[in-house]
């Protein structure tokens, strides 16, 4: 069926991109994939309506962001304990700058991480980020400014104490 083909194409095209964005936010590929898969499962049962949207991906991203953020809230309490037990996972090598940025993003409050990922990672304009997060554009701009400042401070702190941020 035509609608089913549409959904398949949409899924194949959007899935990696959304997982990439969510992974930067959550810091964990599995959590990101869980959130994105759940969001696509929800989209699959609403596809008749969603396919008429200008950007169905925005809907899926919004749901996945919500899921990832609520997951973050739930799991952050457990992270400290888990970090002691967590075994290292095989990850592709990345530059120290990028590792530092990724670590810094994880330390930001979720609302700040979200605006950075949507604005820089998904390359959305401020107005679209505002629509996605359902906040006024002014709020997005102020969050962006605060997030950049916090990230900048974190990176500077890391440069002063390399072992802390990049170790």
């Amino acid at each position: 069926m035509h609608g089913d083909d549409d959904f398949g194409d949409f899924y194949q095209a959007s899935y990696p991109r959304l997982v990439g964005q969510l992974t930067v936010l959550t810091g964990n590929l599995e959590d990101a994939e869980d959130a994105v898969q759940e969001a696509f499962a929800r989209a699959s049962t609403r596809w008749v309506r969603l396919r008429a949207y200008d950007a169905p991906e925005a809907w899926v991203r919004r749901v996945a962001l919500n899921l990832a953020t609520s997951g973050l809230r739930r799991t952050r309490r457990q992270l400290a304990a888990l970090a002691r037990m967590r075994t290292a996972t095989a990850e592709p090598p990345r530059s120290t700058d990028r590792l530092a940025i990724e670590a810094g993003l994880r330390r930001l409050p979720p609302r700040h991480g979200q605006v950075l990922v949507l604005y820089y990672g998904a390359d959305l304009p401020v107005e679209e980020v505002a629509r996605q997060l359902r906040v006024p554009p002014g709020t997005v701009k102020s969050r962006l400014a605060r997030a950049r400042a916090a990230l900048g401070a974190y990176l500077e702190e890391g440069q002063e104490e390399p072992g802390h941020a990049r170790g």
Binding site: Q12, V19, Q37
Partner: protein, 291 residues
């Protein structure tokens, strides 16, 4: 760090992670979506039942009088079957009335504080059998593929595909859907228990009838009357509940918007709000043998 550099670094991070993403087969996503929808429907039913049980418990503790006075049968519109004598509980918005089984009473239920759910009623035994022994009747819009009135082989098209319609589904993981017909020929589906203390659930075809001079609400064809047979840890109570529920299924009668030519002015809240562009959908006849 300069903004352009930050943008580049984050974009490359996203691209790195995107490369590592491995999408599962789309069929799995779709299956997951369908299961989730069914699970949600089950959870909703459980929550409603829990609320009902709580309401019953509170009501008994505070010894409030039964708020619903059974209506006399003389006000009931004509039906195709003889009207049994005895008290009847009427639910005009849901388009049904139910003769009360002996030893049972009816109670309206509040959703939000102070707001009754106009298309729902619960039947409770006058002598408590167990906390969850209530039989709940409520109109819903059933998922078309489960609808008992869908002729075999017919694709649920038309209004089923309209956007924005939320469907109720019977969770058939506990048992396959069973099918039956009431004495008057009206078809129903049912499932047995999913949870160990559940008795089962029936959905009777209960189409909404519209006035000729106004558009039908979307989904009217898929309206059903759900009869939830209650829960109990006691097998003897469950057996009794099943018997009473089957009797309710056989005897509940259409009124108002459940009757052709009845009074359809009261919109059933189970259906989406009336919209000017809504298309009238022909209602399949509920009679005739089912292969």
């Amino acid at each position: 760090m300069h903004e352009d550099e930050l943008r580049r670094q984050i974009a490359e991070l996203v691209a790195d992670h995107a490369e590592r993403a491995t999408p599962p087969p789309i069929a799995e996503i779709r299956r997951w979506g369908r299961r989730r929808r069914a699970r949600l429907a089950g959870v909703t039913a459980v929550v409603v039942l829990a609320l009902l049980a709580g309401a019953v418990g509170v009501d008994r503790l505070t010894s409030r009088p039964t708020p619903l006075a059974p209506a006399p049968t003389t006000t009931a519109p004509p039906t195709t079957r003889p009207v049994p004598a005895g008290p009847v509980a009427r639910v005009p918005a849901g388009g049904f009335e139910v003769p009360l089984p002996a030893g049972w009473t009816a109670r309206k239920v509040e959703g939000l504080p102070g707001q009754e759910i106009p298309n729902l009623i619960e039947l409770v035994p006058r002598r408590a059998m167990s906390l969850n022994a209530a039989i709940v009747l409520q109109t819903q819009m059933l998922a078309p593929w489960q609808h008992p009135g869908l002729p075999p082989g017919e694709e649920p098209g038309g209004v089923a595909n309209r956007e924005g319609l939320g469907f109720y589904t019977l969770d058939d993981r506990g048992s396959p859907l069973g099918r039956g017909r009431r004495p008057d020929g009206r078809p129903y589906v049912w499932r047995t228990r999913k949870l160990p203390d559940e008795v089962g659930e029936y959905a009777i075809a209960w189409p909404y009838h519209c006035r000729a001079d106004r558009p039908c609400p979307p989904g009217n064809r898929w309206r059903v009357l759900v009869v939830h047979a209650g829960r109990s840890d006691d097998p003897a109570v469950r057996q009794k509940l099943r018997k009473v529920a089957q009797r309710v299924v056989d005897t509940v009668r259409p009124i108002t918007n459940g009757l052709r030519g009845g009074d359809p002015t009261q919109l059933d809240p189970a259906l989406p709000p009336e919209r000017a562009q809504a298309t009238a959908v022909p209602v399949p006849p509920p009679t005739g043998p089912r292969p």
